[in-house]
């Protein structure tokens, strides 16, 4: 990725660094970023896609929610004017039968085309100039619980796509689709016989426990693998020199654990594959026989590190399980695996065998109340991606800091069938905070600095050459979500303050997604306010002109900002207490009555 003005895929580059060479946003101006423009994608939740930018046009996709499900918008990146939009016509049933949530994690660009995954399992190629559909291919079946939520990645003319929906009995796969025709080039499943997993003579896993015939069958009882999970709803990396793609698979399901004895391969596994053929080169199972729903779909950041005097091509994988893995990406050898958050559900990773060491005291069993399991089920870090700066050689990690009590729930109910379920109470981990943004040195194998957050940091990260990391708050999940959507600029030294957005109208700017006081999702730029006399007041006036009736909302906006800046006492006292009180997940803001209000259950 040589042109710093381009951001053609969710992670910006194949290495998944989310690093920009631009330095217009730097330590001296990060605190003065101003609003440039906003654009509503029409959804009131579930915006996990960050925009991509190609040649001055911004492309963004909304979630499958609101009036424009999975709509793609092409915007003039300088003005925010809509160039075109593409409306897929998803099956109306999709929302009702879809597993889990209706999110979409982004688009990809290659060779003049925008690639879109829809919740109802279509991969679509769209002409980037005109917005016209070029082809679409149906890859899965929503009525069987399959959905697609991940952002596609295009490698050597192939669009790489994976499915979601493990808990609905889905068998996980990754598929390569020809970018010109939409034809399926290959598909690799993550359970079952080697021929389905695309394991052949090239497959050379580092650890002996992963060698053997048809382990995707043998590591399950009977035919459990046929509905075994191992979906692919996270991020894909690619190393052009080694010609290998890297990604992780999700948890085993839908069987309860006492019905799926064995390692349950190839769930919660990092794969290296040849993108031309799909053939696996190596694999490493992160959590054999997962008990905690620790999907290992988190990103794999490809960097070269000086380790013991040698340059090693590695991937860094911040595990759901709380360990920061540094893995030789040519061989699959785990070079180090160190806890980056408080972990007691495991006792460490044995580097000789590569296996994580379970802590049986923390094994969830229905009928027992198991207290203080750390990390909680969403793991120490979820899908929200990290960023790597080649300048500082640090990985910037947004993550949770939650523990949980596993309890028996009174009653669950699906499709007319009652059952005794489990529930988890999640709460702040040791130290009393629920989230953290930190910098990790993978050579020294330690945290360099950390910022504790009262709430989980459910947001992706990017880092600039200007010496700032930018956290984009675009995850609506969890505590006080609506209070916590505003972009943040963080000094790499660890000091931070909040900005609302930006007015940089040059080509050099950062897109971000945030939420307005009505709770509507908007795009905003990060960048300096400098061009065309576009003061923030003018931005607001423009905004007001475009969206009559918004004027009254600025009061709420300002107050939301005050909450973010830590001015808790200035904000509505009801809100402060509700959001930052001891009750976990205890409140959310309601902006819908033209002022900031906080409602508690």
């Amino acid at each position: 990725m040589t042109d710093p003005a381009q951001w053609p895929m969710a992670a910006r580059n194949y290495a998944n660094t989310r690093y920009s060479e631009l330095d217009q946003i730097n330590r001296s101006n990060a605190s003065r970023l101003q609003l440039a423009w906003t654009f509503s994608v029409g959804a009131d939740r579930g915006q996990e896609a960050a925009p991509i930018i190609v040649d001055g046009t911004m492309y963004v996709v909304g979630p499958y929610a609101g009036p424009y499900p999975n709509r793609v918008f092409a915007l003039n990146a300088t003005t925010g004017e809509l160039k075109w939009s593409y409306a897929p016509r998803p099956e109306p049933a999709a929302k009702g039968v879809a597993c889990c949530d209706v999110v979409n994690r982004g688009l990809a660009f290659d060779e003049g085309k925008i690639f879109l995954n829809t919740l109802d399992n279509h991969t679509v190629a769209i002409d980037a100039k005109t917005g016209k559909e070029l082809w679409h291919t149906k890859l899965g079946e929503i009525n069987k619980g399959e959905t697609i939520t991940m952002a596609p990645v295009v490698v050597k003319g192939k669009v790489l796509v994976g499915n979601s929906g493990g808990e609905l009995g889905v068998r996980g796969w990754i598929t390569a689709v020809d970018e010109n025709t939409g034809a399926i080039a290959w598909r690799a499943y993550h359970t079952g016989p080697d021929k389905d997993v695309l394991i052949g003579p090239d497959f050379k896993p580092f650890y002996s426990s992963l060698r053997g015939k048809d382990l995707g069958v043998a590591s399950w009882p009977a035919d459990r693998w046929q509905v075994g999970g191992g979906t692919v709803w996270g991020w894909i990396s690619y190393d052009p020199e080694l010609n290998l793609i890297y990604y992780g698979t999700a948890n085993p399901s839908p069987w309860n654990s006492n019905q799926r004895s064995g390692d349950n391969l190839w769930t919660t596994t990092i794969f290296a594959r040849d993108p031309d053929t799909g053939q696996a080169k190596w694999a490493y199972q992160v959590n054999p026989h997962d008990l905690f729903d620790h999907d290992e779909i988190n990103e794999n950041v490809l960097v070269d590190l000086q380790l013991n005097g040698q340059t090693r091509k590695v991937l860094i994988h911040p595990g759901r399980n709380g360990y920061m893995y540094v893995i030789d990406r040519a061989t699959g050898e785990v070079l180090s695996a160190d806890a980056y958050d408080f972990v007691n559900s495991y006792k460490g990773v044995d580097l000789k065998t590569g296996r994580i060491v379970p802590n049986e005291e923390k094994t969830p069993v229905i009928g027992k109340n198991i207290e203080n399991i750390c990390p909680a089920a969403p793991g120490a870090k979820d899908w929200q991606p990290t960023a790597w700066s080649p300048r500082t050689k640090l990985l910037y990690v947004p993550h949770q800091h939650l523990c949980m009590d596993f309890k028996t729930a009174e009653a669950g109910y699906i499709a007319g069938t009652p059952y005794v379920g489990a529930s988890v109470d999640m709460y702040a981990g040791p130290g009393g905070y629920r989230g953290e943004f930190m910098a990790w040195d993978p050579v020294a194998r330690k945290k360099v600095w950390e910022i504790h957050e009262k709430l989980p940091v459910w947001t992706g990260t990017l880092v600039t050459a200007g010496g700032r990391g930018i956290l984009r708050h675009h995850g609506p999940y969890l505590q006080g979500g609506r209070c916590n959507q505003w972009q943040r600029a963080l000094a790499i030294q660890g000091r931070f303050r909040i900005h609302r957005s930006t007015c940089d109208l040059s080509r050099k700017r950062w897109p971000a997604v945030c939420r307005d006081p009505l709770g509507r999702w908007r795009l905003a730029w990060s960048g300096r306010q400098r061009r065309g006399g576009s003061s923030c007041a003018q931005c607001r006036a423009r905004l007001h002109g475009r969206h009559p009736g918004l004027a009254v909302l600025y009061r709420g906006w300002k107050r939301a900002s005050r909450i973010q800046t830590g001015g808790l006492r200035q904000a509505s006292p009801t809100c402060s207490r509700a959001i930052f009180g001891p009750e976990q997940c205890a409140a959310a803001l309601d902006f819908s009555h033209s002022s900031l209000r906080c409602l508690r259950p």
């Binding site: 009525n143 459990r224 509905v227 309860n256 009653a411 499709a415 009652p418 969890l478 409140a587």
Partner: protein, 280 residues
């Protein structure tokens, strides 16, 4: 994936009071949310026993039924009742904490289903034949979300002869959970362990006679249990409708019981008195 969603659902549940305000009773309508494709409970043709019950309630209240259809899965209450699209969900387990429950109006049990011609006479979870017979169970989602027989068989180490049927099935087909019972009918499996009202209804239409036997010996698997009280659900705080429904249940016990029996639901005695006391 599941956990993150569970958290999200939790937050949404906390938001319930917000949406409650959005839910407005319509004076002439009984607004019901139901699965359009899940017999014997409900169907878009309104042929399920929950549909019939809703019609009866509406008649007694002098209203007409208006449906919002939604597959009854994770998020059902969030998207329907708590989104203000309806005011009543006709069937939920008692003490279901996402809703305000009425008193229970029936109690049923998990059952074993087998072909009558096999003459298995199998009712107990302790029966050693469970280790040899091919036993089908419904799967719902993962460790914390599966049916009691799936957990109990696992606890007993009965694994290799167990077959899983997704409760979600293929939603293009009619009544996806019924595939488990049809597997017994077709001889794909020897035995199904399923929730009684579903099993009893599907068995009625089987081309070969099926025997339904309530499962016994489940106590050892506590807190797993094999019998559940079923009540109606309204939005939390909607005491007015709840009280009307409790009154309806009190006054129509015989009609309700007859309706359920007519659909083949195996009913068992209520185990304890309920809040309103007298439904023994």
């Amino acid at each position: 994936m599941r956990s993150r969603i569970r958290l999200f659902s939790f937050l949404v549940a906390m938001l319930a009071p917000v949406t409650t305000m959005a839910g407005q009773h319509d004076g002439n309508k009984l607004r019901v949310c139901a699965d359009p494709n899940n017999m014997p409970f409900s169907s878009s043709a309104q042929t399920g026993f929950e549909n019939k019950l809703a019609a009866l309630i509406a008649q007694k209240l002098g209203k007409t039924v208006a449906y919002t259809w939604w597959a009854q899965r994770r998020g059902f209450i969030r998207h329907t009742l708590n989104a203000g699209l309806c005011d009543l969900v006709v069937g939920v387990p008692a003490h279901y904490d996402l809703v305000e429950n009425t008193q229970p109006y029936y109690r049923s049990t998990y059952v074993f289903v087998s072909q009558t011609s096999r003459n298995l006479q199998l009712s107990s979870m302790d029966d050693p034949r469970l280790r040899q017979l091919t036993v089908g169970v419904h799967l719902i989602g993962d460790d914390g979300n599966n049916t009691p027989p799936a957990h109990a068989l696992g606890d007993l180490g009965i694994v290799s002869n167990v077959r899983g049927y997704m409760i979600y099935g293929d939603y293009r087909e009619p009544d996806p959970p019924a595939r488990l019972i049809e597997a017994v009918e077709n001889g794909d499996i020897d035995l199904a362990a399923a929730w009684g009202p579903l099993a009893g209804y599907v068995a009625k239409f089987s081309k070969v006679p099926l025997t339904i036997t309530p499962i016994t010996g489940g106590e050892q698997f506590a807190p797993q249990r094999f019998q559940f009280d079923i009540s109606m659900g309204v939005r939390k705080g909607d005491h007015a409708l709840r009280d009307q429904l409790n009154d309806f249940i009190d006054r129509n016990k015989t009609a309700i019981t007859d309706l359920l029996k007519n659909y083949g639901a195996p009913l068992v005695e209520f185990q304890r008195s309920t809040a309103s006391g007298d439904l023994q």
